[in-house]
């Protein structure tokens, strides 16, 4: 077990006191496996990813068990966390323009983790950086290494960031909306690249996205989050084919289908997502869910284990997976 998360809870400070934005999140990830975390804004998916890297905002409190390679991430101090970041855990962010330092050349930024964690010399690290840039399929890697971020396109910058994240061959790669800011053709290429690279090096991938289609097609397993907690988890194929949770089903049906008759009514979920932490007990989806009953608002969510390593957290789902 490379990564194991159990009963993760995250509290953020607000003017009105601490607010629990993530609660009861549990999952595991083996080396070489891929897990997609999908959710809309306010679902807590980004906070979960940040918690793994120890990058939560000041004042945030984390509880629960977060274990990476036998290390307890919750107890780790900042100095030891820094040793992990970039070395054994790599992270890619959504906006390559803001995640890359505009004042440093790309080559230097890709080389930085190598100098820091592997003790390479500048020259050796630069040479390795050029090789990495070629590995992420960048055209003319020498030129890219010498360039500054503003001179590259969005897709090129994202590839550079991937090169940087992979430079020390991490065991775990966390990608937070890596392709949301990119054109759809580039997006497909980047996701394909990530899949190839992780297969080549037996690296585990945690992909966070709001796009269910992206997650389901590029990850072996999927975790659906809403209102700060997990609604459903399981193998992507199975969840896609036969979603157990009403929220997952609603998400699947809400997308306009290419080729559908024009103006066909989409089954939209009424209302808006409540901010995470708004429903202290009961199900955060209660009220918006078409299957809501009174018990949904007050009863803590059960975890129903279904066949095929699937879990659904819903009061209306029976142990055999059918709706009650």
């Amino acid at each position: 077990m490379l990564l194991s998360v159990a009963d993760l809870a995250i509290d953020l400070p607000t003017p009105d006191g601490p607010r629990r934005v993530v609660h009861d999140v549990s999952f595991t990830l083996d080396g070489g496996d891929s897990l997609g975390v999908v959710g809309e804004s306010g679902s807590g998916k980004t906070m979960t990813a940040l918690a793994l890297m120890g990058l939560l905002p000041d004042g945030a409190a984390v509880s629960g068990a977060l274990r990476f390679e036998d290390l307890d991430l919750v107890e780790l101090d900042e100095a030891r966390m820094q040793k992990l970041r970039g070395d054994r855990i790599g992270m890619i962010f959504q906006e390559p323009m803001t995640a890359l330092n505009p004042l440093h050349r790309i080559g230097r930024q890709v080389a930085e983790p190598l100098i820091l964690h592997r003790g390479m010399s500048r020259a050796a690290a630069w040479a390795e950086a050029v090789k990495l840039l070629a590995r992420v399929r960048l055209r003319d890697p020498e030129r890219v290494a010498r360039a500054y971020p503003f001179a590259l396109s969005g897709g090129e910058r994202q590839r550079a960031m991937i090169a940087m994240a992979l430079s020390c061959s991490p065991r775990l790669l966390i990608a937070d909306e890596p392709t949301t800011a990119l054109d759809v053709t580039v997006q497909a290429q980047i996701l394909d690249l990530l899949a190839t690279l992780s297969a080549q090096s037996d690296m585990a991938t945690l992909l966070v996205s709001h796009d269910l289609a992206v997650v389901v097609r590029h990850c072996r397993r999927v975790l659906v989050m809403y209102g700060g907690t997990v609604m459903e988890s399981g193998p992507a194929e199975a969840v896609l084919r036969d979603a157990g949770h009403p929220y997952t089903r609603a998400l699947l049906e809400a997308r306009p289908r290419a080729g559908a008759p024009r103006g066909e009514r989409l089954s939209a979920i009424v209302g808006a997502a409540a901010p995470a932490g708004a429903a202290p007990r009961g199900c955060p989806f209660a009220g918006r869910c078409p299957l809501t009953i009174d018990a949904c608002r007050v009863t803590p969510l059960p975890t129903i284990e279904l066949a095929g390593d699937r879990r659904v957290r819903c009061l209306r789902v029976a142990p055999d997976g059918r709706l009650t």
């Binding site: 400070p13 607000t14 003017p15 006191g17 601490p18 120890g54 939560l56 000041d58 004042g59 945030a60 409190a61 984390v62 919750v74």
Partner: protein, 280 residues
């Protein structure tokens, strides 16, 4: 990982309250001096020269027997007058120039900015001294000298923030709705750039008070019998070893006024953020 929750700041909070209180004190002192002072300001009374604080002269008397408390109150008048007019001039002309620069762009913008740079190239206080030395000392000239320097400060700030506001989509939406450039400037740009301008205005007010004190200290600002904190500081110099308190009172008055204005500016910056409105 830490489990501590830092105290979140409420709207403006302490800065705003403290600053507002000090500024209120300043304004109150000036207003009060218009209707009443313990002694007529400027009234010379050699018999009581350098009197220590007593029931009659609450803060004592200066080298010419003038009542210090009355002089301080009356001095507030001058400080406020200079601050209001100098900053007012800076705001009116500076904001207008800045808006024109931001909207017109191109050569016009360049020209206005170069004019500002030109003004900045001259050290402010030295130029004020030069101006008043040339055209004669006095409150009016001091105001002009200080006010001139506020114009480019507000022009630059307005241009920078207006550029930001003009690039927002809601300005494009207003154009799509058929609004003209002047309507957009008043309806959309000004309200959105007002907070930094207001904060800068409080800062410039403080600067104006300091500048007036400096000019008066050099004998170039308010002339006797007009009371001015700067002049009081200058007079107090000669009596440093005999009655150091004569420097403390006006010095404290200047310091508290400047502090109050800066705190007010800080507090206003937070209080004026519409995203924090409705929560408190």
């Amino acid at each position: 990982m830490s489990a501590a929750f830092p105290r979140p700041r409420r709207r403006g909070g302490l800065s705003l309250r403290f600053g507002a209180a000090l500024v209120a004190l300043l304004v109150g002192a000036a207003a009060l001096s218009l209707v009443w002072t313990p002694f007529p300001p400027g009234a010379i009374d050699i018999a009581h020269k350098l009197a220590p604080p007593s029931a009659v002269h609450w803060l004592g008397a200066d080298s010419l027997g003038r009542d210090v408390a009355s002089e301080i109150l009356a001095g507030a008048r001058v400080s406020i007058l200079v601050g209001v007019i100098a900053v007012g001039v800076g705001l009116v002309f500076g904001v207008a120039l800045g808006l024109v620069a931001a909207a017109a762009k191109g050569v016009v913008e360049e020209a206005i900015m170069k004019l500002c740079d030109f003004t900045f190239a001259f050290p402010a206080l030295l130029s004020a001294i030069l101006f008043t030395a040339t055209y004669g000392p006095g409150v009016v000239n001091a105001i002009v000298a200080i006010g001139v320097y506020n114009v480019p400060i507000f022009a630059r700030l307005t241009r920078a923030t207006a550029n930001g506001a003009l690039a927002r989509e809601y300005v494009l939406a207003a154009r799509a709705a058929g609004r003209g450039p002047v309507a957009i400037a008043f309806d959309h740009v000004l309200p959105n750039i007002a907070p930094p301008l207001i904060v800068q205005a409080t800062i410039q007010f403080a600067v104006a008070i300091l500048a007036e004190a400096a000019l008066s200290y050099l004998g170039l600002g308010a002339q006797p019998p007009l009371a001015s904190w700067g002049r009081m500081l200058s007079d107090a110099q000669d009596w440093m070893y005999v009655a150091p308190r004569l420097a403390v009172y006006p010095g404290l008055a200047v310091a508290l006024s400047v502090l109050g204005l800066n705190l007010l500016g800080d507090g206003l910056r937070d209080a004026l953020d519409p995203k924090l409105r409705g929560r408190s």
